[in-house]
């Protein structure tokens, strides 16, 4: 009786989330699977078309495949953000006066509303009068080079977005910093006794100890890249020449501009499967280098 009462109580406490899970997660995933096999234009009821949406997408060399490629390209950002973010966290981990001020400064860009970031960077990246090219022009001039047109140039539009995102790397810096401060001091002392210098301590103590956090951030980074939307929607609308037509943007266009819900839902499901695969791949390969404290063997 008491046992049953306890179970009922537990389920009651989580019921707000549980109802929300059925309404806003489970049902939509299943519904979008169904819609993905339909011709569905919102205003008329869905019509079963089998695999037609998937076939159309996977053979679409004009939009879908480029959007997939563009998104893959953006994954370059993840190792860059990892290296820069970790380096900054290691720098901030020094116990020296004024360190809190630096931490605040690095964190600021990541709490700026994305829309405002997009507007600001449209100006920073302006080929003629922008801040970036104002710095680059005198640096490149001695070599007879001109700075790129950034968002106006299909070759440079994606690197421009990557640079803009790296500006907001501070969010992950704070996470790395928190995990750095959780590394037990006695490990460093032991390494010092063994004669390890700063470099060896970082490579053999710090990195293994915080590898679960790095690993988690990488997974989230892959998933985040596939959701990349607001920036392109405001800054380039996918151009020039579809060079910034990213996955989430094309999905949005399908759903809300062209009203091809079937197509969009097929994309959502491909995204769902890609997310699962990305998670599994990182999980599998991480077994070799991720160290979890408390896990022996």
């Amino acid at each position: 009786m008491r046992e049953r009462q306890r179970n009922v109580q537990g389920w009651l406490f989580v019921s707000p989330w549980l109802i929300g899970f059925f309404l806003f997660t489970l049902y939509p995933i299943l519904a979008s699977l169904y819609y993905s096999f339909c011709d569905y234009r919102v205003l008329s009821p869905p019509k079963w078309v089998g695999l037609a949406n998937y076939v159309a997408l996977l053979t679409d060399r004009d939009y879908f495949l480029p959007s997939l490629w563009n998104t893959f390209f953006m994954l370059i950002e993840l190792p860059l953000a990892l290296i820069i973010g970790l380096t900054m966290a290691l720098l901030l981990n020094h116990k020296i006066p004024g360190i809190g001020v630096f931490r605040t400064i690095y964190y600021l860009p990541s709490i700026m509303p994305v829309v405002a970031v997009a507007v600001l960077w449209l100006w920073v990246l302006n080929p003629q009068y922008g801040l970036l090219n104002a710095i680059l022009t005198p640096l490149l001039a001695p070599f007879g080079l001109q700075p790129p047109g950034w968002l106006a140039d299909p070759k440079w539009s994606k690197p421009a977005f990557i640079m803009m995102d790296l500006w907001a790397v501070g969010g992950s810096v704070v996470i790395y910093l928190a995990s750095l401060q959780n590394v037990p001091a006695h490990l460093y002392e032991a390494a010092e006794i063994d004669g390890a210098g700063a470099w060896h301590k970082t490579v053999h103590v710090t990195l293994p100890m915080i590898s679960p956090v790095i690993f988690y951030n990488l997974i989230m980074g892959v998933i985040w890249t596939f959701q990349y939307f607001t920036q392109t929607f405001i800054m380039t609308q996918g151009g020039p020449q579809n060079s910034t037509l990213f996955y989430a943007l094309y999905l949005f266009y399908n759903a809300f501009r062209d009203f091809r819900m079937g197509h969009a839902c097929a994309m959502a499901w491909i995204l769902f499967i890609l997310t699962l695969i990305a998670t599994l791949v990182v999980f599998r390969t991480s077994a070799r280098w991720v160290y979890y404290e408390g896990e022996r063997g």
């Binding site: 179970n7 109580q9 537990g10 389920w11 406490f13 989580v14 019921s15 707000p16 989330w17 549980l18 929300g20 899970f21 309404l23 806003f24 997660t25 049902y27 995933i29 519904a31 979008s32 819609y35 900054m88 901030l92 020296i96 630096f102 605040t104 400064i105 690095y106 860009p109 990541s110 509303p113 829309v115 405002a116 507007v119 600001l120 100006w123 003629q128 801040l131 500006w167 501070g170 992950s172 704070v174 996470i175 928190a178 995990s179 997974i219 989230m220 998933i223 596939f226 959701q227 607001t230 929607f233 989430a248 999905l251 759903a255 819900m261 994309m267 995204l271 769902f272 997310t275 998670t279």
Partner: protein, 294 residues
Amino acid sequence: MATETASRGNQLAHWRHSKVWRKRIAVTVVYLVLIALSISFLAPFALMVSTSLKTEERIFTETIEWIPNPIRWQNYAEALQSFPFLLYLRNTLFVCALVVVGTVLSSALPAYGFARLRWKGRDVLFLIMLATIMLPAQVTMLPVFVMFRNLGWTGTYLPLVVPPFFGSAFAIFLLRQFFLTIPQELSDAARIDGCSEWRIFWQIIVPLSVPALATVALFAFIGAWTDFINPLVYLTDENTYTLAVGLQTFVGRHSSEWNLLMAAATVVTLPLMVVFFFTQKLFIEGITLTGIKG
């Protein structure tokens, strides 16, 4: 023998001395790198504020003028007049308030269930909930849109403010982590006194968790303030826009008036910066507790 000891002492002093110097140099290098990084992180902000105060003629110059001359404060007045800033601010605060209340209330209860009660199915459900943190919004967005559309909710705030009342997986996770740190003996003692779980939750756990609840409120507030895609999809009437969507339409209409654009961007950013400055500690604590940024 004595000289040998002395020279060894000397050597030690010398070694110590050089170590101090090495440390000083290292600290200097760290400071230099930190400052260089700070400049590059702050430069875009400085550009934003400086451009927002320039006259039209002084925007497009060969080299960048960091200090605007003359300073034109009217840009702010003009920017605020050319889009209904106060109306959008009110709309945004309205949405934020409901999202915050919904998220905090409906996340604290499940978090309590996951952290402080033992029941059948708890661990499986918790894993499912953790997995949903990773799920991209795009996967579920479309059927949810169809659902709200069939309910006739598009064009209203309901699609923005109702879902938070079913909890947020991230907030539940954060609160659960915090609830786990509260000693179990407190609950046990209350149970022996015949306290119901409901009362333990409200009278013991909630008062002890104010910092964590504040962190969740803060993340929810910032999430709602910066949210773009949901207002974009659901709000059809321009008078109901939030600041994020309003700013985007403003960009469309003033695409080359950079001084006005920067003024608008500053105004939309400033409230968040102020909130952040006063609540930094809560931020850091929330991140430390979960290892995830909100």
